[in-house]
Symmetry: C2
Subunit: 85 residues, 2 copies
């Protein structure tokens, strides 16, 4: 996997998941610092129809295995953020 | 929601998601610092069958709405952890 390539591919993700993987929407998960393997599994589940979401299913539909590995490497390496409260 | 009650109810979660919400398994997500609303939505999706997982579906099956709110409050308030690498 290639986190640098993942960063480029992640541009479209930032609208919901934030520029640095910290979600800007309460109903959308933070991705920064998440387990790499879990991210990979989740995106594949959306792509392959095992998990469904109005936004994520079409987003994931066109991704290759390499795309998914790159995205998972990128987001998992970003610093996590603790809640402000 | 009641994070203190959530902590008690979260005891069973720790086997996979870690004592402090940092997963001990690569294919399981960290929950610490995750968006509260997303956690609530996710657990309800497991309980209500919109999302399926061999472990999480039965785990969530017996939870009340209050249980889920408490758990989401608890995990979202835990400090997130950035990747060690």
């Amino acid at each position: 996997q290639d986190a640098a390539a993942g960063k480029t591919k992640a541009a479209v993700c930032s609208a919901c998941h934030g520029a640095e993987g910290i979600s800007v929407l309460p109903d959308y998960p933070n991705l920064a610092g998440q387990k790499q393997k879990y991210l990979e599994t989740s995106i594949k589940a959306y792509r392959d129809g095992h998990r469904k979401h109005a936004v994520m299913s079409p987003m994931a539909a066109g991704l290759s295995d390499t795309d998914i590995l790159d995205l998972a490497a990128y987001f998992s390496a970003l610093p996590a953020q603790s809640p402000a409260k």
